[in-house]
Subunit: 458 residues, 2 copies
């Protein structure tokens, strides 16, 4: 059964390839509709540039826009990056405003500019406006497709309008309509549900929710996350400094953005600069991004290891210590990274604030003492078993215990300190941490080893 399944997949790829070669657009559309977004992304992103372009041409701009929206976050931008401006323009034009902004942001500035120049001027102006807001803010996440009605209308008028323009509106994601003043100020929100339940002759001003909740156009992702945690709304109106309605942020956009940020956090934590890498990216791009982080790391590593060089004499006499140096370096790194991760997560959720250093220090140092004690005992026991030398056990055990305390405490604090300095903690915490803990660990083992040298070599 499983083998069959695999075979069928293999066949699918062959079928798609064949359909592209024979130029059968409608069949490609029918074929792709049977697949899940992850499958589509797997197939499409792995096609060569020529075949990708050909496929999009074959299915036409409208279907292409749907296809690309469907695999948003699964390598969609990479596809637009690879096609020509002439091919991209009609596709981008078919997208919703949020999708347009998301895709254009990903492109090089020149490429985005070329596309914008070819888009209908009014629309292009709107997109430029949206792109001028920082990425993870209400302005950067909002859509401009929403339904505004002036406050003088009645329930009946709005229902009429909805019925008349039903088809156009069904492309929108309508759950609310917004009531504005003659000058464009937001004064109320109409839930479609309430509209449905209200007498038709009522003025909408009496059905609407007055003084509606709204967010400022500059509101951060954290604020928006908190908002949708607090209220189960599907969207929130966005207003500018003057209280004018400028857009709507949908709750699912916020959840997707939070998801994306979490993903980036994870990859950054592992040393992927930019928080994004897919294996469909060009080799050189992937390799150089990883290298930019690694090459800083190797310099820090060399600096840390220079501590060992200072103690060459000790090491020469008690060569057995060399066995324990990598263990202490690695274990301290692990212990410290656990604390780093918990701090990064608490910062992201807003459960700890960057200034609460004392709280984190108290919480982490107590763990550092317990875990340091246990790990120190384990390592001391291993040393004792191996060499039968109590002093060796003492040197490596106490060093690991002390260094675990340092690593866990420092690991908990580093992300807070970096955040206070407005630096991204995910990428920089690890290298900073290991440099300090390596230096400290090597120093502890080798200096205490120097002191007890006669006992170690005896």
């Amino acid at each position: 059964m499983k083998a069959e399944f695999e075979e069928e997949r293999q066949d699918n790829r062959v079928i798609l390839y064949h359909l592209i070669q024979t130029g059968n657009g409608p069949q490609i559309i029918a074929f792709l509709e049977k697949l899940s977004p992850a499958e589509i992304a797997r197939f499409i992103t792995r096609l060569g540039q020529k075949d990708q372009t050909r496929l999009l041409e074959l299915i036409g701009p409208e279907k292409s826009a749907i296809l690309i929206s469907k695999i948003s976050g699964l390598g969609a931008a990479g596809i637009v990056e690879r096609i020509s401006t002439a091919d991209a323009v009609p596709i981008v034009q078919e997208m919703g405003s949020d999708q347009q902004v998301r895709i254009l942001r990903k492109l090089k500035e020149d490429d985005a500019e070329l596309i914008l120049q070819d888009i209908q001027p009014n629309r292009a102006k709107e997109i430029r406006q949206l792109m001028s807001y920082p990425e993870n803010t209400a302005g950067g996440l909002m859509i401009t497709e929403y339904l505004p009605y002036t406050s003088r209308l009645k329930v009946h008028d709005v229902l009429e309008d909805l019925r008349e323009h039903g088809e156009v509106y069904s492309d929108y994601d309508i759950q609310y309509a917004y009531v504005i003043s003659d000058t464009g100020k937001l004064i109320g929100v109409l839930r479609l549900r309430d509209l449905l339940l209200a007498p038709k002759s009522k003025p909408i001003a009496e059905v609407m929710i007055k003084d509606p909740l709204k967010v400022d156009v500059s509101a951060s992702l954290q604020v928006l996350r908190d908002f949708f945690r607090q209220y189960t709304f599907l969207g929130v109106p966005v207003t500018d400094n003057e209280g004018n309605l400028v857009g709507v942020v949908r709750s699912y956009t916020v959840r997707e953005a939070a998801n994306k940020r979490n993903n980036q956090l994870f990859l950054k934590f592992a040393g992927i600069v930019g928080g994004e890498e897919a294996r469909t990216m060009p080799l050189f791009k992937r390799s150089s991004r990883r290298l930019s982080w690694l090459s800083i790391n190797i310099v820090l590593n060399i600096i840390a290891a220079s501590v060992i060089a200072l103690y060459q004499d000790t090491l020469e006499k008690a060569i057995v210590l060399a066995v324990f140096l990598p263990i202490i370096s690695d274990m301290s790194g692990c212990s410290g990274n656990q604390a780093v991760a918990v701090s990064i997560r608490e910062l992201t959720l807003g459960l700890v604030r960057p200034r609460e250093l004392m709280r984190v220090l108290a919480k982490e140092s107590s763990i550092g003492i317990i875990n340091g004690f246990v790990l120190g005992c384990l390592l001391a026991a291993a040393a004792l078993l191996w060499k039968g030398n109590l002093y060796l056990g003492l040197v490596v055990g106490v060093s690991l215990a002390a260094n675990t305390l340092v690593a866990v405490s420092f690991g908990g604090l580093v992300p807070l300190i970096l955040r206070s300095m407005r630096t991204d903690p995910a990428l920089a915490s690890g290298p900073l941490l290991t440099t300090i803990t390596d230096m400290c660990g090597f120093f502890l083992v080798l200096s205490s080893g120097s002191l007890l040298l006669p006992k170690l070599t005896g």
Copy 2:
């Protein structure tokens, strides 16, 4: 301004504490309503057990249920864990079914059982049923509060029912109503929007979407993610083997669950067993969870370092190599972890399948060669600068280059292999990787060092 802000926060905590001590329920409610969920979580989760219990008593079960739902994912379960069954029952009773299941799952089985025994039997039976589904499946994520109508009704009947029960329903998250057969089979979906736009005398069977999209009760989170990536619906009906409607999964629940899983992935990757830790958890729980991972790691580390012990003679003669061992161990770990993270992410998104080992190997080994070459040159240059010995540079440079290739290739593959074996790659990949790369790295440096020993000591 900033100082003022800080002071006000400090004051807030004092105010809340004071309100709890004086037993002023209504003022506590008013006070908490001004705060964001993250702030509430920060205040509440840090209260002592006694004050937490007292606060929940003061605001009453209904407000407590809202409060706990609001800080879902921010330490909510910890609060229910800490109060007595008698206090918990009325609060749990006020929650929606998905929230109930989420909270009860978090409790120890005995505690959950005690609460269930005190809940209204019908409701308890429903909750037990929901809890019997695995956590990240449609059954585990669905709600049972939805609106089913039999197919014989007319638009008018449904609107009438909605209008009559408006208040009850407004507690629900209604966007769709579901049309079922007399035996409970799902036969259609009614969008409220369509209901609004349709003539009142039409039978709902003509307005409904026939053969609606649905998911099986056992559908995985990955399938649900894909579903809501593909369709912009707000919810999807869930059916059992016989096609009966058993619940509804809302898109935001799926996005939240995906978010939670990403977060857990991140923490597991850093060695936090269970993927969850908050600094409000008891010290011993936090410390022992971290230790359980660290103590496996230290054993693996000792095994890896035993390679060094085999080469003590070489090391004694060329002590300078000891300086490079931790560098090679650490850098290989970093390079390998980058590949691990990219694989874990691609697996999670469904962009790579566990069996595609050859694809990942090809993609990663080419990066391993480039990055290995660059890092090897850097380390060789550092060795050369330091000691002026070309052979030393050669030994450490070539070793790091070769070991980077091993680490990157193996790092890319490990998560796929673990996933094929139905093991969680996030927690186990790191330790497995570093054990292999440490052993291999130590062996490369020390064996090549042995071969060139006369040149190193010359």
